[in-house]
């Protein structure tokens, strides 16, 4: 649930210095989860560091990030993700909800899932803290229905190739070395990073999604999910 105290919904915050990237994929229903996970994990691989350990004199050391290969079952594709079960669970939960919402929306199956990286800016009481996004990834999904196994086999390969292209696109964006939040002091670290996981430390992020109905307009309820809420009350 969205806790209104913690941040202003980013739709209302002017997206200054927030770069936005949009990726589009057409997949079969059973490929949605794996395709989304592949993209989200690839982005988060680049946007996670090891855990910070602050020492005296303002120095800190950084833990180690492990990685692992993931094979897709319904797509001829493999990707690398950060070795963190907590992070994987969080992403699977979000993607699972997205997939269910897509399925329940009807046969057209169009929607998008967004991964937003933000910084928190503390405000004095009674104003709530601001969430300022600095990078937004949107994946537009179009679910196709296939008639027979032969088409499905071709789809496995085609979607695999498409995902390879998406990974290359993501890496291109990452390589631009554009704005990244400044490395925070110990008191500020929770405004920049999600420190709730025990093995890795991604930048603060939230995942939301929208389902488009067949007319191309947003469904009345724009469902917003806050997966990680670091300002636990």
């Amino acid at each position: 649930p969205c806790r209104t105290r913690c941040c202003v919904p980013s739709a209302l915050t002017p997206a200054m210095n927030c770069r936005a990237e949009v990726l589009e994929v057409s997949v079969e229903g059973r490929q949605v989860e794996e395709a989304m996970l592949a993209v989200l994990h690839t982005v988060l691989l680049h946007r996670s560091t090891g855990k910070f350990h602050y020492k005296k004199e303002g120095t800190y050391s950084i833990g180690t990030v492990g990685t692992q290969d993931v094979d897709c079952d319904f797509i001829d594709f493999a990707y690398v993700r950060v070795s963190s079960e907590e992070l994987d669970r969080a992403l699977r939960k979000a993607v699972g909800e997205f997939k269910d919402a897509l399925r329940n929306s009807g046969s057209d199956g169009m929607g998008q899932i967004s991964l937003e990286f933000y910084q928190k800016k503390k405000s004095r009481w009674p104003f709530s803290d601001e969430c300022i996004p600095w990078e937004l990834w949107t994946i537009k999904v179009n679910v196709v229905n296939l008639a027979n196994e032969q088409e499905r086999q071709i789809c496995r390969e085609k979607v695999g190739e498409k995902l390879c292209e998406k990974i290359i696109n993501i890496v291109e964006v990452m390589n631009r070395h554009e704005y990244l939040p400044k490395m925070p002091t110990q008191s500020e670290v929770d405004n920049v990073f999600d420190t709730s996981l025990k093995d890795v430390q991604p930048y603060l992020y939230k995942i939301s999604y929208q389902i488009t109905d067949s007319l191309g307009t947003s469904v009345t309820t724009t469902m917003r999910r806050l997966i990680k809420d670091t300002l636990a009350l």
């Binding site: 050391s61 086999q153 890496v171």
Partner: protein, 550 residues
Amino acid sequence: AMDTDLSSQDRKDLDKFIKFFALKTVQVIVQARLGEKICTRSSSSPTGSDWFNLAIKDIPEVTHEAKKALAGQLPAVGRSMCVEISLKTSEGDSMELEIWCLEMNEKCDKEIKVSYTVYNRLSLLLKSLLAITRVTPAYRLSRKQGHEYVILYRIYFGEVQLSGLGEGFQTVRVGTVGTPVGTITLSCAYRINLAFMSTRQFERTPPIMGIIIDHFVDRPYPSSSPMHPCNYRAGEDNGAVYPSVEDSQEVCTTSFSTSPPSQCVFTVTKAHFQAPPPVVTDTLKVPVMGLAFSHQLSSSRLSYQPAALGVGSADMGYPVLFAGGLNAAHPHQLIGPGKEGGVPPIPSQPAHGTQADQERMCTPLDGVHYSAATPSSSEDTETVSNSSEGKCGSPHDLLETIFIRKVGAFVNKPINQVTMANLDIPFAMFAPKNVELEDNDPMVNPPDSPETESPLQGSLHSEGSSGSSTGNTHDDFVMIDFKPAFSKDDILPMDLGTFYREFQNPPQLSSLSIDIGAQSMAEDLDSLPEKLAVHEKNVKEFDAFVETLQ
């Protein structure tokens, strides 16, 4: 002039970063072509030797080869570090698949902070490399290696040579990092013309021994190509092992500072290891076959001196053996096991282009036990559990690599020729012919083309696709989504109720549907004498028939 802007400490740090970045780059690339899934643990406590804050294991032989190729130099303008990935079939044909290039250009970024920004960006670049190594066509090929072909690597330093990639090769850029002494770029050029393999249009090079990159595979490796375990070696009695990165005195613990944000505190510690530093000299001793060995190799020098290391075998050739008549147009530097501390004895007979010969060369001689070299490979039955704080125990635990075997998209499964009748699904006979069948595990990829085809055709078909053949092989086996019997949209498009009704009330057998009213008993009796007469006439035939049944 550019050096005056950089403090000497910064310069030292930068050189060290670039050196270890190059070594880690090679590790990532080679490990991505081993054919196995890679898995390393995250560790919240810094362990002190994970360069760039990433858990990338160091395969000692690979580090050794990379250091040999670099020979103490760093990538600079005109001097690039290249990792060439090639494929070699069991018949000895080989083909270059990819060249990964780590280059340096002249564009300097004087303002950038070495110990902080450059370091972090190099870390990001390694992550990008991890991602990109899985999306080029060679990745899928390498996951299927072992039966008909293997994947080899070669490291060289100097000018990039892309001519072996065939026409129309593509390039992908992994990324760049600006530094005060130049901009580091990492890219990959890869072949897209894999169709050549099936028509054997490439030159036939003599078989080449090289490291077969399936270093961490479970032992014994069941049915793999016999070309391999040249690089398996035990914890040997002479105690010589490859120097791992930790062995060298270049472990770096980095601390970062936020106040002021640009400062970085560096502490360099020596790792505590018992293994003696390797003795490597620059002399190349190759008592092999009088081949003009050195000029066949590419520009890097090989360092090997078995005698000095107390290895007894007198006829120990350089473990990398060239077949006669090495094609000069393809200077294949062999990444031999080239171990500094001792060489698995290999007979120095030349190999002549047959697989049998290669098998012979790979047979271990007297008493050398082959097993995976690295300490943590015994953990390959381990799966990744919740990646909690990594073990900060023995140094060998620092970088654990756990390989998980999972039946997934890239498994090279034995070919199952499945026909409709063999499949254990209910009422398979009634399923329409064009439906496809799959293993009961829906997560298993459909099998590849049958083994009876040309070994190259099935695996290496068009555009590096997953290798599942199209077209004609659909006639050999069929695949089906496994769904519960009688469910909707199943083989038979009917629901449970309809199914039950139809199959509980089968039509009468035609043989039983006698129209009784048409015949009377009298007619039967009347026709009997006629019938008997016919039977008596043919009695001999009947007798003969009965005899055949005895």
